[in-house]
Symmetry: C2
Subunit: 155 residues, 2 copies
DNA sequence: CATGAGGGTTTGGTTTTCCTACCCACTGGC
DNA sequence: GCCAGTGGGTAGGAAAACCAAACCCTCATG
């Protein structure tokens, strides 16, 4: 009577994707980070159908990624602004953009010029020591009993 | 007779998500980067239904993110390994993991210990100058006529 | 020859998504 | 007042995606 359904791996990536992994969700966030905060403009720029956009915005507000801010009364209208948690996803978007630039686009539609003068190219570093993080320079520790990197293990 | 449907913003993030934005896709990639390369194990660890997994694997192979490598004849069996392009997505997963750790999980299921001794926490830097990338330290340049950061513009 | 593992495909039913249209509150022009 | 226009949604039905379970095929081993 045990183990009716094996659970998938406990994982923060999966948790994060349960919030931002739906279609259009990261594009909606992109718009708010670009400074586009209104329903109609977000719908136009992402291509999301209006009812889907309504659902995504509601979920993102509930998850604390966006907040709904009134910008006028009579009639009350709201705009959607990223919370600090939402802004923390900006690096994810930056890396996805760069990956798309490298592997899918002929000409990158958008380029950022850093204050140092170069076009922005991101590098992932260890916050503690400043070294670039590379494959094999860190060792994983699974904190969940019954699991290892390769899969479930016996107790 | 022009402009029947407005196109969404041309964007490499959207392009990237058209490849890796489907449900389970990034979890499948996670498994292959963890060293789990076989169909059954990937299905178990991600929770993806088998037919969906078949579709995702095929798409990822076509997109050049994974490759199908035979590991035995009689019967021929294949495993799925990340290509260089697939490994380039590892930072995206790392950032999603950290975001999930910070905002959704009580205890991070998985921690990486960097060679320097600290638990890994990623920092995004400018590859050219080494400075941490922060909000406002770069200016965008849209390369597509008819578009700006805030939306479509007149020609 | 039965059993079992690996790697799928098929079937059939349930959700999601998508699309078009409509609604409501208000404003500004006439 | 009447009309069109804007912002932010709902409603309803068709299309696509998803899911669980069952099935299939190839080979290996006992």
């Amino acid at each position: 009577m045990t183990a009716s359904k094996p659970q998938p791996r406990p994982c923060s990536i999966a948790d994060a994707l349960s919030v931002v992994g739906d279609k259009y969700t990261l594009l909606v966030l992109r718009e708010t980070l670009f400074g586009v905060h209104r329903f109609d403009a977000i719908a136009r720029n992402t291509g999301a159908p209006r009812d889907i956009l309504t659902a995504r915005l509601r979920k993102l507000v509930e998850a604390g990624v966006l907040e709904k801010v009134p910008y006028q009364d009579r009639p009350v209208r709201h705009e959607y602004r990223p919370t600090p948690a939402g802004r923390e996803l900006q690096p994810v978007l930056l890396l996805l953009k760069e990956w798309g630039d490298r592997h899918l686009a002929e000409t990158p539609p958008l380029v950022w010029e850093h204050d140092c003068g170069a076009d922005v190219e991101a590098q992932i570093c260890c916050r503690a020591c400043g070294e670039e993080l590379r494959r094999g320079s860190a060792t994983p520790h699974y904190q969940v009993p019954g699991w290892s990197l390769s899969g479930p293990v016996e107790a």
